[in-house]
């Protein structure tokens, strides 16, 4: 009962001896015939024996200091008998990898659970983490970061000093409910566009100003961009794509290039939908600013109409655009207009808008 056939390596020579292992009360006895036919026996004291971590049914035990002697045994009954014979010594420690020795259903189950966990982490965990990281970022550092970005990029544009002055003046008349220093720069560019940098810098293309007809449209545009600044959307976006990249490269560390390319692209797609969410958020927060200032929400409707006509012809290609489809935004804004209460005609703001219109002529 306590005899097993094993292969024995003495650690000095690569010869494999077919040997018999006998389990004695406090030691193992290994005996074999060496090549000259002489019967040889080796004694392993119990406390010096260690078990190799293994994934198959080949059990390997080692003994002594380097170079170690080893025995290999293929008998499935061995672990059970060892437990019975030596209850005080643990030969086979329980390991997480033991589940590979279970059936395939378990492996598939675990695999699915892991996939789900990964999916949840990627789609929900990461954006949340990005938000948390962004909200802990000190405001002063953010302003500094935004200013550095601004310094680097503004050189590529032609700044309109006159328009910049009157537009900043216009913005001061609106309470944006933010502690960020809002600084607007108007640049000469035909495109109907504007963007916000972290920390309060907003760049407006004069192309979009020329297409506007009312002060509410400009106010809507600024409210939208200020919301990006106030809710730290750029930072969240940066953290999100950085996190996504780290997550995927960690995961796919040793998977070949094809998958990495696929994964990179899907990460980009995920970022796009994420920034669409941010755009929608900026719209709704911008409308909240309008309500607080009792401005006419129709400004948003008009702004989106302007955008739609300016970008109309390429709209169908913009499935992957960072902004939600203008038509959808327009619809959402029209809904909001229906529900809005008392609006006030702001004379002071109107004067400032006229100043901008004069400057545009």
């Amino acid at each position: 009962m306590y005899n097993f056939s094993v292969r024995y390596h003495d650690g000095r020579l690569s010869i494999a001896h077919d040997a018999t292992l006998t389990l004695m009360p406090d030691h193992w006895l290994i005996h074999y015939r060496d090549p000259s036919g002489e019967l040889t026996s080796v004694r392993w004291a119990l406390q010096g024996i260690s078990t190799d971590e293994n994934f198959s049914n080949l059990f390997i035990f080692r003994y002594g200091e380097f170079p170690q002697q080893t025995i290999e045994c293929k008998e499935d009954s061995l672990p059970q008998i060892l437990r019975k014979r030596y209850p005080e010594k643990v030969f086979f420690r329980r390991r997480i990898t033991d589940i590979f020795k279970l059936n395939n259903t378990t492996i598939v189950g675990v695999a699915l659970a892991v996939l789900m966990l990964m999916g949840l982490g990627y789609w929900f965990g990461l954006p949340w983490l990005a938000g948390a990281a962004a909200s802990r970022f000190p405001v002063s550092t953010e302003v500094q970061l935004g200013d550095t970005m601004y310094e680097n990029m503004i050189r590529a544009y032609d700044v309109d000093q006159g328009l910049t002055a009157v537009t900043n003046d216009f913005a001061k008349a609106i309470d944006f409910k933010t502690h960020y220093p809002i600084r607007i720069t108007v640049v000469k560019d035909k495109e109907a566009n504007a963007f916000a940098l972290p920390g309060g810098r907003i760049v407006v293309f004069d192309g979009i100003l020329r297409k506007m007809h009312t002060k509410e449209e400009l106010a809507a545009l600024l409210a939208h961009e200020v919301s990006h600044v106030h809710y730290r959307h750029s930072l969240r976006n940066i953290f999100r794509s950085l996190g996504g990249y780290l997550f995927l490269s960690l995961l796919l560390n040793d998977i070949n290039g094809v998958v990495t390319v696929l994964a990179d692209n899907s990460n980009m797609l995920a970022n796009l939908t994420y920034s669409r969410e941010l755009e929608t958020e900026a719209d709704s927060k911008g409308m909240a600013i309008f309500k607080a200032n009792r401005l006419d929400l129709k400004g948003f409707v008009d702004l989106f109409t302007v955008l739609k006509s300016a970008r109309g012809e390429v709209e169908s290609l913009k499935l992957l655009s960072t902004h939600p489809l203008t038509a959808d935004r327009l619809r959402a804004a029209e809904e909001m207009v229906k529900g809005q209460g008392q609006v006030r005609e702001d004379e002071r703001l109107e004067r400032k808008w006229e100043a901008i219109e004069n400057e545009l002529k």
Partner: protein, 317 residues
């Protein structure tokens, strides 16, 4: 005619088992925020070795997660310092300091490669065994570093042409210092032949719109394998490859299909196929006495090089 004695390695790994190991590794690596990674690597290497067989005996990888974790931490520390220098220099916005930072960073990375290769070879070889006999690497770090740095500079000056000679020189150095017990190795390749092989492969691949690529890869593999020699005392043994372009084509096409169609999930099956392809195409010719290899190498447990090499993505085995 005398029957030529030849031996082969066989790979017994199964896709399903490898898949299970990958899944658990990924899961634990995620929930421990990456700290489990060294153990994951150790488990993977153990499995791959355990399923590799020569003359009825399996190979063993003795490395442990703990050893590799220490190396992992050191390697991360080294990278943090390097990136710290880079970003620190970039933050000053001063051109001279930025230039200096870049220089330190890239020279550091360049020096790190041979250091990683050396450390990884020493660790990996020492932790690999067959029938209780350990492998070993006796190279000198300084010598490898010199060869690598001087070779890189010449490669740069010759617009990459010397690269072929450098690769061969590194292979020669590594194999010269590789031990398996008292068995020694050598690499018989030549820079010139290797260079023309690559030139021919490159232009024919361009001319045939990539089709010749399979022959090129086959040639590179064969050039690598066919030039390995093994010596047991006075006996010389030669490695021989039987890989064909058709075989490569089949391996690659099916693997790409497996990986892409399963969105990467079936990658372990592709890995098993690759291992089987490599092993089944390498023959060791000559009268090897598998019972007479004598233990000669010492223990080496510093895994920093192994982890560095892993991070820079240098494949050794």
């Amino acid at each position: 005619m005398e029957q030529q004695e030849t031996r082969q390695l066989t790979f017994h790994g199964e896709g399903a088992k490898l898949f299970g190991i990958y899944i658990v590794n990924i899961l634990l690596t995620i929930v421990t925020f990456g700290l489990y990674y060294p153990w994951a690597r150790a488990a993977l290497l153990k499995y791959m070795y355990e399923e590799s067989e020569l003359e009825g005996s399996r190979f063993t990888f003795h490395g442990t997660g703990k050893e590799m974790f220490l190396g992992f931490i050191k390697a991360i520390g080294i990278f943090l310092v390097l990136y710290g220098i880079l970003f620190g220099a970039a933050a000053t916005q001063k051109p001279t300091i930025m230039l200096l930072g870049f220089a330190v960073f890239y020279i550091g990375l360049l020096l790190l490669i041979p250091i990683a290769i050396h450390g990884a070879l020493r660790y990996r070889a020492s932790r690999s065994s067959w029938r209780g006999i350990h492998f070993g690497y006796r190279g000198d770090r300084k010598e490898l570093l010199n060869t690598f740095v001087i070779g890189s500079i010449i490669t740069l000056v010759t617009f990459g042409i010397y690269g072929a000679w450098l690769v061969i020189e590194l292979r020669k150095y590594i194999f010269k210092n590789l031990r398996f017990g008292n068995i020694t190795f050598s690499y018989e390749g030549e820079g010139g032949a290797f260079f023309w092989l690559n030139i021919k492969g490159y232009f024919l691949t361009l001319l045939t719109f990539g089709i010749y690529g399979f022959w090129w890869v086959k040639d590179l593999f064969n050039y690598y394998v066919n030039n390995i020699r093994m010596y047991q005392g006075e006996t010389r043994l030669a490695f021989r490859s039987t890989a064909t372009a058709g075989g490569y084509f089949k391996l690659l096409i099916v693997n790409v299909l497996i990986v892409v169609l399963s969105l990467g999930l079936a990658t372990p099956w592709a890995i098993v196929r690759t291992m089987q392809f490599v092993f089944s195409n390498i023959h060791i010719d000559g009268p090897l006495d598998v019972d007479a290899i004598i233990q000669t190498e010492a223990d080496y447990t510093d895994a920093t090089g192994e982890d560095l090499a892993d991070m820079i993505d240098i494949g050794i085995v």
